[in-house]
Symmetry: C2
Subunit: 203 residues, 2 copies
């Protein structure tokens, strides 16, 4: 029985998406270099040859997994405009910390490891940073704040703060999660308020 | 005329140090991938063959340059204990911003580029981060503060803030240097104060 080209294409897309889902689990628990193409094929229950039919290399597979993880993270941390500003920020940071906890090893690999400097991977990470910064700047504007270059600098710096804090937090596990969230929220408020030239921090 | 082994060894060390000095200039202005081994030999006025006599590869040469840059940075940002705490911090941050300005391209390559994930290069960068965090923790203790895990987490996160802010600052040049320093100093104070569970930021 001949399959139509359309049907074949749909199957291919569906199968690729299933494989990417498996990759999300694998790369969350182990670092890029610890996973062989054989492990991926075994986890998917298919032959290595068939895996190569869907993705030309482990690196190509990884790029798709990271793209998917970035999309999921963006959706999970999407600001909920029905909430007041502070609760909205708290909710987004909670979602971010959930993500870091669930993908601890993979997250560390992405931000610290060798594959994190692959140009395509870096572009995905940088785009997510840009979107995170923009969401915060939008919230500042919405609250009547002036997004001066200094304020934007503070916000982009804070993204670096969030990454460094969250990597260190999941590695050591010495600080309660609620305290981490409070630290992130307060530091953002105060950094922005300092950059805005406020005489003192907001109360 | 035969040279003694001691004399030869001294010459070798001296020559290697001179080459590393040249490398500091080269890698400050251009990214790792933009510099060929021929460029290094030309800048040093020696043949490529002779350069390989001192360093087996461009990567080995780069590792030595980064090691030297890290040592210089540590010395320049060494806290001056004759100053009161706030001025001491301001002076160290000024020295750090000087360094970032002088080595703008090289600094960005180190923290963002491909070579930054070479295990030996990363070990050098991580060691400098660890020392920076420890200096701040020492200052907190000296002022009677309690270096709880949350405070340490805030300090390590702040190192990420400093890196993100300084990279963004030299790239865009939209914010005055004094404002950048004030942002870094205030954000440290407030992040630490938040992590220490203070009811509000210090005045």
């Amino acid at each position: 029985m001949a399959t139509s080209p359309t049907r074949t294409r749909l199957d291919l897309d569906r199968r690729r998406r299933q494989l990417v889902e498996i990759g999300l689990d694998l790369f969350s628990e182990r670092a890029y270099d610890e996973i062989a193409i054989d492990d991926i094929a075994a986890a998917a229950g298919i032959s290595k040859g068939l895996l190569y039919h869907y993705f030309p290399s482990k690196r190509d597979f990884y790029v798709e997994v990271i793209r998917e993880a970035a999309t999921v993270l963006r959706a999970r941390t999407e600001p909920d405009s029905s909430l007041p500003p502070l609760e909205r920020l708290n909710a987004s940071i909670d979602a971010y910390l959930d993500h870091v906890e669930q993908h601890a090893r993979g997250h560390a690999t992405l931000l610290r490891g060798g594959i994190g400097t692959d140009p395509e991977v870096r572009a995905i990470v940088d785009e997510n940073r840009r979107i995170s910064a923009q969401r915060i700047i939008d919230a500042i504007v919405e609250q009547g704040g002036d997004p001066t270059p200094a304020v934007r600098l503070a916000v982009r710096g804070w993204i670096g703060f969030v990454e460094a804090v969250s990597l260190d937090w999941v590695e050591r596990r010495e600080v309660a999660r609620d305290d981490v969230r409070a630290l992130l929220v307060q530091t953002l408020e105060w950094a922005v308020s300092s950059a805005a030239g406020a005489p003192g921090p907001p109360v």
